[in-house]
Amino acid sequence: MTSVSLKVNGKSVTREVEGRTLLVQLLRDHLGLTGTHVGCDTSQCGACVVHVDGESIKSCTMLAVQANGLEVTTIEGLAAADGTLHPMQAAFREHHGLQCGYCTPGMVMSAVDLAKSHEHLDEKTVREGLEGNICRCTGYHNIVKAVLAGAEAMRSQPAQAAAE
């Protein structure tokens, strides 16, 4: 067992984990943050995407010990403390970008990073940017609409977007 200390959604935590424990397992099983999902075992689906030091990463591809000393934001840490949705979350709701909700946390976390890392997004860049996230329900149509709208809202409401 190894000790790992990191910041998750702004809180410092320390846990004893096995060397093989994945970041997603640390989040779900040790910290009870079950918003981050597991949809595959080949790092293909993106249900597990979180932000590590501000960048989106598939938390099933990272060992918990590799996150030592880093800052992790999960879907639970995205909305404001008073429950106000992050503009990207709000856009997903507004544009019906989710059905069963299983891919949603990863989709939203990927979308936030996509919006932050692009000056300008259009349908093509969104579709390519979300290539690592599989959704079986929505057919992507409304996800694309939501991400474009969410990115736009992040630009016009920078304070809320920076809340994470």
């Binding site: 595959c40 080949t42 293909q44 995205l78 989710l98 093509k124 929505t138």
Partner: protein
């Protein structure tokens, strides 16, 4: 888009309004509760050891070393299951062969005894303190296998001398079934001016809901009660099948909870072995047991879909009128009969072979075949996409052979609205539908007339452009119990609904239907808000827990609103009737003088009225009720059994462009115009259509479940090999609908929209692909039209590309 203003909702949360979803907040903030998010006190973890072979005899299983491994609590095999007299998993539908004999129904043990018949078959369960410990210990279980030869496809399995999946299924045949009038069909072919023939394969698919299946079993020693949390579309069905048939647990001692479920598409209808294993074993070890599938396990243990091999012939007269359709289909059942498997290629497939057309004579023969593969059952559309694909592909080819425009040939054969209700020659009665209207609207949307110019422009760029359409019809809202029963269903197919007013006027609705993406918590609440004139915030929808909800049949076959919504509607009728009695008493008027409108009970012709909230309060504070005439309370339950199926229909059109250098097919445009009857929430309906279309596109261009024909190994067992549609593989869609033909026989006029996209999608895309390649003399391509397959077809074409 597209909702006509005539249907504009009266209130912002009523019928016809695109109410934003009430379930979204929890999902968007990571607060959904999926089965794997639940942890029980003192819980253990199960790992299922699965067969690595498609077919093998088991000489012995040595669990000694595994039992010694760290953290291991127990290891069980088929012997333990047999010793406890645990039964096999039952099949819910009995099909009889042509000769009247019942289908062959081999046992399906939750853990095998001495033989495995597909890769992934359950061999042992290892239960440990942690999931990792269970998995580590599984490597120490020594199974002595003798590998046997395997067979994976229906045509091979039917050959003389093919390896047998089950000794009792001679020639691997499950049943040999037929439907329709053979003599009339033969006569139609005898007088035909033209016959179009087509051989096609409807490729096997893996449903791949994004949430892998999971189950937690718990036994309470104090009460003797069992609880199962499971990723199910229909918890009552699981309680009945597992309780009554597999484990012998009476229903009052078994609670099944399907919490938030991350997609189903059919694959979470069935009762699976793991549910029975964790429930049974939780009593043996006296602790809760959780099992969660890894994705690679899902690939070899979730029921697959489709897998038909078909020969079809369409007879036409000189004017292009369809005279007869003859179909022979081999349907791969896999190694065991999954819960509803036998009904899919029969009553959900052959009964739809008339499509939207007046074809007077149809004869279909279906052989269901066992192979050494994962069981096959309903997957989004279930039988109806296979029927649509066959009809729309052969109609397309017939049009090309006869030199008639594909839209014109369809028009000549559409069942006109004036012929409704229409009895098809394959046992269904369509209640309504305006087929030409959907076609016309779709043609307009895609600018059909402008296509030749777009094709020429593409050609100038060296690209092959094609346009294809499918006019589909499906039978949904499954179904009248009496019809289903006559056709072999071992269950009823009604739905339950309970509407409970609380004293202060809020309402809890209990539905036997289950939402795993379909948005019941929003759309069902709209029904209630609309009917009672109360704010949607005052309505709560409860589903997915057998201890709360009256016995219901769950969600599949686009039935939630048509059957489940109608049950709620019926319960609301009862509430209104009861409330009228109470209002009459309160207002000191005759019950017959009370009218209910927009949430108010009024004495006709007066201004004396009460809100439904006033009535509810009085119902629970019956201080001066005449108790021998009027019962307190306002809580009503209804079961709704439909009179007929519902028949959603529509036309989809796709335009594709193929790069002949690479064989890559890009979908440039995709439109769908549907008739779902009355629409409750346009936003939700459109979302359902989008999702279905992409599953159709996935089947047409990407997805394919491939087994090695020699070894029976699954070659597409992960997302590295099984090609799931991703955001950059598909375009945005134009989706419209009309509401001019509401369902004639349910109280809401609704038809169902969950499967439509998937039913028409694959045929639409493949017709467009074949259209793009038609100039090269290519008449047919089997799905999926991968770049390799398309490129090879172009290379092998009878008319070389250069010669154009």
């Amino acid at each position: 888009m597209s909702n006509s203003p005539a249907n504009a909702p009266v209130n912002a949360t009523g019928i016809g309004a695109s109410v934003k979803r009430r379930e979204d907040f929890r999902f968007l903030t990571g607060q959904g509760t999926y089965t794997d998010d639940i942890n029980r006190p003192n819980q253990t973890h199960a790992y299922i050891l699965r067969s690595p072979y498609a077919h093998a005899r088991i000489n012995g299983i040595d669990t000694a070393a595994a039992l010694e491994a760290p953290g291991v609590v127990a290891v069980f095999t088929g012997k333990d299951i047999a010793a406890d007299k645990v039964n096999g998993l039952p099949c819910g539908w009995l099909i009889h062969s042509k000769d009247g004999s019942p289908m062959v129904e081999p046992p399906h043990p939750p853990l095998v005894l001495d033989k495995v018949v597909h890769v992934g078959d359950q061999v042992a369960v290892i239960i440990a303190e942690t999931c990792e410990q269970a998995k580590d210990a599984a490597e120490l279980v020594m199974v002595d296998y003798d590998e046997l030869p395997a067979v994976t496809t229906s045509p091979e399995a039917l050959k003389d001398g093919a390896p047998l999946v089950h000794d009792q299924a001679t020639g691997n045949l499950c049943y040999d079934w037929h439907l329709g009038d053979k003599a009339a069909t033969d006569a139609a072919f005898a007088k035909a001016a033209h016959v179009t023939k087509l051989d096609l394969i409807n490729n096997r698919l893996v449903p791949n809901a994004m949430e892998p299946r999971a189950a937690i079993g718990e036994f309470d020693r104090a009460t003797g009660d069992y609880t199962l949390w499971t990723t199910s579309q229909n918890p009552h069905v699981i309680r009945l099948l597992m309780g009554a048939f597999v484990l012998g647990i009476p229903e009052h001692k078994l609670r099944v909870i399907a919490p938030d479920v991350g997609g189903g598409f059919g694959s979470k209808i069935y009762h699976y072995a793991e549910e029975a294993i964790v429930t049974w074993a939780s009593r043996k070890i006296g602790r809760p047991i959780k099992w969660v599938a890894e994705r690679s396990e899902s690939f070899v243990s979730d029921a697959h879909g489709r897998d038909h091999v078909t020969h079809a012939e369409l007879a036409l007269d000189a004017d292009g009128k369809f005279l007869g359709l003859r179909v022979q289909t081999l349907a791969n059942m896999g190694a065991y009969l999954s819960t509803f498997a036998p009904s899919i290629p029969t009553y959900l497939y052959a009964t739809l072979l008339a499509g939207q057309y007046t074809t007077p004579a149809i004869y279909a023969e279906v052989k269901a075949v066992f192979t050494h593969t994962v069981p096959v059952d309903a997957y989004r559309g279930a039988g109806r996409p296979e029927a649509c694909y066959l009809i729309e592909r052969i109609v397309e080819n017939a049009a090309r052979e006869l030199g008639i425009d594909k839209t014109e040939l369809r028009r000549r054969n559409f069942i006109p609205p004036s012929a409704m209700p229409y009895d098809t020659p394959v046992a269904l009665q369509y209640d309504c539908g305006m087929f030409e209207k959907c076609l016309d609207q779709a043609l307009n949307l895609i600018d059909y007339k402008g296509f030749p110019a777009r094709k020429a422009e593409a050609k100038a760029r060296g690209k092959l452009r094609g346009i294809g359409l499918a006019s589909y019809i499906e039978a949904c809202g499954i179904a009248p119990s009496n019809v289903a029963g006559a056709l072999g269903a071992r269950a009823g197919l009604y739905e339950s609904g309970e509407v409970r007013f609380h004293p202060t006027g809020s309402v809890t609705v209990f539905t036997g239907s289950h939402s795993h993406g379909q948005s019941h918590e929003t759309t069902f609440a709209q029904l209630v808000s609309d009917r009672f004139g109360i704010p949607i915030e005052n309505v709560e929808i409860v589903h997915g827990d057998t201890s709360k909800v009256p016995f219901g049949m769950g969600t599949y076959g686009s039935r939630s609103l048509a059957v489940g919504g109608s049950a709620i509607s019926k319960a609301m009728d009862k509430v209104v009737n009861k409330a009228k009695k109470i209002a009459a008493h309160m207002l000191e008027a005759a019950e017959t003088d009370i009218v209910f409108e927009q949430g108010k009970f009024t004495v006709a012709g007066t201004d004396r009225s009460l809100t439904i909230g006033d009535v509810a309060l009085s119902a629970y504070v019956p201080h001066n009720f005449p108790l021998d005439e009027l019962e307190p309370g306002l809580d009503e339950q209804a079961f709704y059994d439909p009179k007929n199926f519902t028949y959603p229909n529509g036309t989809q059109i796709a335009e594709v462009e193929i790069d002949p250098e690479t064989g890559v097919v890009r979908i440039e445009k995709f439109v769908a115009v549907d008739d779902f009857g009355r629409v409750i929430n346009p936003m939700v309906v459109e979302g359902q259509v989008h999702g279905g279309i992409v599953q159709g596109i996935g089947q047409a261009l990407m997805e394919n479940c491939v087994y090695d024909p020699q070894t029976g190994q699954l070659l597409t067992g992960s997302y590295m090999d099984y090609c799931m549609p991703r955001a950059d593989d598909v375009p945005s869609f134009i989706v419209q609908y009309h509401e001019e033909a509401p369902c004639t026989h349910n109280p809401l006029g609704v038809k169902g929209c969950g499967e439509a996209g998937a039913i028409g999608g694959s045929a639409t895309v493949m017709n467009a692909v074949v259209d793009a390649l038609a100039d090269l003399g290519i008449k047919h391509l089997d799905m999926p039209a991968t770049p390799l397959r398309v490129w090879r077809a172009i290379q092998d074409a009878s008319v070389p590309l250069a010669a154009e």
